[in-house]
Symmetry: C2
Subunit: 260 residues, 2 copies
């Protein structure tokens, strides 16, 4: 290829990457952006990387680390900034393949983390990072949830996004039926739950911890159909905790017993 | 007073309230803003409210609920929006008195939550809400931390800000000396800690849980001087959790044993 053809091909790749800031583009292409060394490093062994854009100064750090078949594009600083959603991608943005796991592959044992509906991308990413730390089987998101490959979610996941199997657009009926089929109890978190989360028994089929939306918690018709409605004890005057806090405390408590 | 004088006095109050969006104004006046029904309702019994701005449509809900001496100003919708930092204060913004507690009053028993340095106001507010739920003795923030009366922190605290005694600008030396003086152990959270947080013993002097900054964790010189360096077990590939998640899980574990 002539230099000109290389430049024009690269410009087309840059334009395609910039477009991935939009959810519609991510859905139609099945691709998303990983920004900065943490996110890209986290994905090196996960067979998801397609291509990597770097600035000249950091190119030497990455040339020999990319898996075979992953293209490296050295671009000017202002080009990289255009691709990145964040202000400081530290000279590095990658394009990765969106992956989803069938729900059936995630149920039946261990800990599964499910959210009825999460609208804040930072919360979605934090939950993915939590699930990774807990060695959870995966994260299940309900319809209407934020896209877990939203750039803010990817950032909050801090390198964990490509570590955790994700099932999205899973409604409560589908989740409850799949869990019932394999005998895995679903534990809903609710401020009015009747069981302290530390007292929820965990058997060989593992457990699913289910959280609601940030604003409204879980709908009543879901709470009425789960196996256990659990709460965290509260000793002060606060009437509730935020979604991320409650889910983290509950999931840790359950994960310890899953591991025992 | 003539109608004109009343209007001019009210305008001056509005201008003073608008200025409280700035930290410098909060510090010099000792006042801050509480926006929306949750925050104001949380403060009704806490002897901190100075005055309340409401729009005409919600005024009837609040007229009879304010403690004696708290002025109610009915203002136009656009005036209320100008006072509020958030987009939807639901017709209600109050001015409250900033309160601080001497560190000596917070140590010696129970659970105390301390942050070396927190820079995100949302995190600061979430920690205050957590401390409230746990019935903690208070929250201690190090120098360089965000102002807990920052409007975003007040919002994240969801009505808990005025429930929890706060000591700010407390450096690690001061905190460690005060705890040593009363025999209360300080438990630092660190991904490389040697003790699982569930195994940290809690005695009659209670315990202090100390978290680092969002970006850098705790400085080494602090970690080396605390009584216990605790970690959360991690079973996946994530190498750490975010500050809020880790603190919530650890503080819950300790709070359960404090309460026993």
């Amino acid at each position: 290829m002539s230099d000109e053809m290389i430049t024009s091909t690269r410009n087309a790749r840059v334009r395609a990457a910039v477009a991935l800031a939009r959810r519609r583009e991510r859905v139609s292409s099945g691709l998303f952006l990983l920004e900065g060394p943490n996110a890209v490093e986290g994905a090196l062994d996960d067979d998801v990387l397609v291509e990597v854009f770097v600035t000249e100064d950091v190119a030497p750090d990455w040339e020999d680390r990319l898996p075979p078949g992953v293209e490296l594009h050295v671009v000017a600083d202002h080009v990289l900034e255009r691709v990145a959603d964040s202000r400081s991608p530290q000279g590095l943005v990658a394009v990765g393949r969106v992956r989803r796991q069938p729900l059936e592959d995630l149920v039946g044992s261990g800990l599964l983390v499910a959210l009825h509906e999460v609208s804040d991308p930072g919360n979605a990413g934090t939950v993915v990072r939590l699930a990774d730390a807990l060695g959870a089987r995966g994260v299940v998101l309900g319809p209407g949830s934020v896209d877990p490959e939203n750039p803010k979610a990817v950032r909050a996941a801090a390198g964990s996004l490509t570590h955790v199997p994700l099932a999205t657009d899973v409604d409560s009926d589908t989740l409850l039926a799949a869990c019932r089929a394999v005998g895995q109890p679903v534990v809903a978190l609710d401020a009015h739950g009747d069981t302290d989360v530390d007292d929820v028994p965990v058997g060989p089929a593992g457990v699913v911890v289910l959280g609601g939306s940030e604003a409204h918690g879980l709908p009543r018709e879901v709470v009425e159909r789960v196996d256990v409605v659990a709460r965290l004890p509260m000793w002060g005057r606060a009437e509730s905790l935020n979604l991320g806090t409650a889910l983290a405390v509950a999931a840790y408590s359950l994960a310890r017993r899953v591991r025992r």
